[in-house]
Symmetry: C2
Subunit: 400 residues, 2 copies
């Protein structure tokens, strides 16, 4: 890993370290159960951390659609047991931001001095449902009365948001295609990615329309997978000589009105603005410090919204970022070096934890794309629920 | 309210106050939505507290089966919006302990200094599903692979636990019938209770068998309802001259193996033992200090398990408590003066918050049954998930 210039502040917020990360491959895991997938990720994270399961004091776990996909609720104690954890375990559900919220809870619990060692992450089984049923299950994250009954599903909702953005600020389908191309290229060498293959702008533009202006290659896939991170107090890391150079220094959460019709406008995502503002303030950093970002690109246009909410671009300016090469692996701030939800995959309840795991690997230098982040000491994750009715942002920093 | 002798300790844990409580009537709310029910409870709690919605910094919200009952996930921002709250909102799902976990999170967040004013609670819509579908939806809280597919539903599971208890320690159906009779009697004057009517031991014993040894009157009903409490820091309460004499001084959570078959024995509930132990240690009190308790009597036998986990009885001795009059309104430690889940009702995701609300009313002196708790300065709540694979215990104390 290249030498980095660390920021001088290092507030009390540097007290939570990412000691280890674990992921299952993202993709279709026919014949496996959710508990089995989460155990794989959790055991990998503990192994990566060099922390014994017996030291874990709690599990904060994200899952979205288990009651529909596996007829399994009350998953937290179940997956804890599967992972060999004997500790209190809590499930968080915040649609696609479920694991982001779980990580945030773990960070706050360690900061409060209530625990020194927690596992956070999430899991989703999706491919076991037929595609129309997955779409219906995902729609449970929208407003059932005022959106779903009117026929709105998430591709349609994000298409409305993309149209609003184009009308407000300009931008084109080609701009969005470049986001897809970038994220597929980034996923090429990521062993956990669902799609380790490149695509072209022409392929993206020629793919079937899903909800105009969005086409098939603007959308993330349907994915099974799990993520886990071991979060520890700085004191525990020191006392146990852990190699844990990455700290979670900022956490923020925001909410917005649920249904699109109730929002003042659709070309911005204020829940994520608030989450980012809170996370930056918490960490004592700003957008100018950010060197790498993992953001919630459930659709290509969602990456555009994310970059503006994170303050990396002014409103209306992020849409051309990938086309201009600013967010590609050689750009000023590489975005979604993991492949993002678009190409790495989006097992809903696992995604927020996967972002933390991937960003940690990028900052530690053991990610296949770490060379593209070698100058970065500060990274951010952006995890959104629904049409960004909820959002969680975390700031991670290299502190050693 | 009678003069009370307050305990001398008052640790840092006295720093979280219950500023206000709100409940909907428990029962069937045909034609109303979940968001509407929760808003009613939250607005009542804010009104009771004298706290403006604009001061609320976060919502911690429990819900169990919304994806199945209303096809509505991602409920936290939705119900926050319905209640006029403009703040981050998180949903917790821990089966029947969902709201208990939500309250616990809020307590920890305030203690950590991350917020001064939070709303916690929960909501469940259940009566809109036909009864067989409700039973199937509830079964999602059990182990789908190793319990549900084998035909185990919750009445069956608790019947197995009751049999194991009877075999280990003795006890009879009549002992359990006395629990039902007591809790129905307690609900008589509770305006929020689903069943404001008394029953007799004979009626309970003669009611149809559900899963032997449990009969219809051993089981709690299917219920719609919502609960909310406003939790504030002591500093906020002081600065705003709130009348908030009750503090949450202890919180504890425990977990156990999920499936009954994986447990060493069925006559005890170790998850709740651990939760109680942690909560007592947190508060610096013990079972001998407890003057009143609200416990998770989803079935009559569950109240027996709860009293032993709470340390109010030695193993095997709680089964006769109601029959002997020790837990009735005139007993040494009145239990479920609200009517409990049995007679007040059990809207799954709301129950943990309802217990906090009812215990607060009992301790403040404005509950119809407060006269039976007038000597109590310490009360406990016991909220369990599934067959007590998870449990949350809180200690509340009168501190002013």
């Amino acid at each position: 890993m290249a030498a980095r210039v660390l920021l001088p502040h290092m507030s009390r917020a540097s007290g939570v370290r990412v000691a280890g990360v674990g992921l299952t491959p993202f993709g279709a895991h026919a014949g496996r159960t959710g508990r089995d997938l989460f155990a794989e990720a959790a055991l990998a994270a503990l192994d990566d951390a060099g922390v014994a399961a017996g030291d874990v004091e709690g599990l904060d776990y994200g899952n979205f659609m288990g009651a529909l996909a596996e007829r399994q609720g009350h998953q937290a104690p179940l997956v804890a047991e599967a992972a060999g954890l004997r500790c209190p375990a809590t499930r968080y559900e915040e649609a696609c931001a479920s694991a982001g919220v779980a990580v945030r809870a773990a960070v706050q619990t360690i900061r409060a001095g209530e625990a020194d060692v927690l596992v956070a992450g999430g899991m989703e089984r999706m491919t076991n449902l037929p595609t129309p049923e997955v779409t219906e299950a995902l729609a449970v994250a929208a407003d059932e009365l005022f959106e779903v009954r009117a026929g709105v599903t998430f591709p349609g909702a994000y298409a409305l948001m993309a149209r609003a953005y184009f009308e407000a600020y300009g931008g084109s389908r080609e701009d969005l295609a470049h986001v897809a191309v970038k994220n597929h290229a980034n996923a090429l060498d990521n062993e956990y990615a669902q799609y380790q293959r490149e695509i072209t702008v022409e392929q993206a533009l020629d793919s079937p329309t899903v909800a105009s202006p969005l086409s098939l290659y603007d959308a993330c896939p349907i994915t099974d997978g799990a993520s886990a991170v071991v979060l520890v107090s700085e004191a525990y890391a020191d006392d146990n000589d852990l190699d844990a150079p990455v700290a979670v220094t900022g956490t923020g959460q925001g909410a917005d009105r649920m249904a699109l019709q109730d929002r003042a406008q659709l070309a911005r995502t204020p829940a994520a603005d608030r989450a980012a503002e809170a996370a930056y303030a918490d960490a004592g950093v700003g957008p100018a410090d950010v060197g790498v970002a993992e953001v919630h690109d459930c659709f290509t246009v969602a990456e555009v919204f994310a970059l503006e909410s994170l303050g990396l671009y002014e409103p209306g300016e992020a849409v051309g970022a990938a086309r201009r090469g600013e967010t590609t692996r050689d750009g000023a701030v590489p975005v979604n070096l993991s492949g993002g939800l678009k190409a790495k995959g989006h097992p809903v309840g696992a995604t927020g934890g996967s972002q933390i795991a991937e960003l940690t690997r990028l900052l530690r230098g053991d990610h296949p794309n770490s060379d593209a982040a070698s100058d970065a000491t500060v990274g951010v994750t952006h995890n959104a629920g629904g049409t960004v009715a909820s959002a969680v942002v975390h700031v991670l920093e290299v502190v050693e």
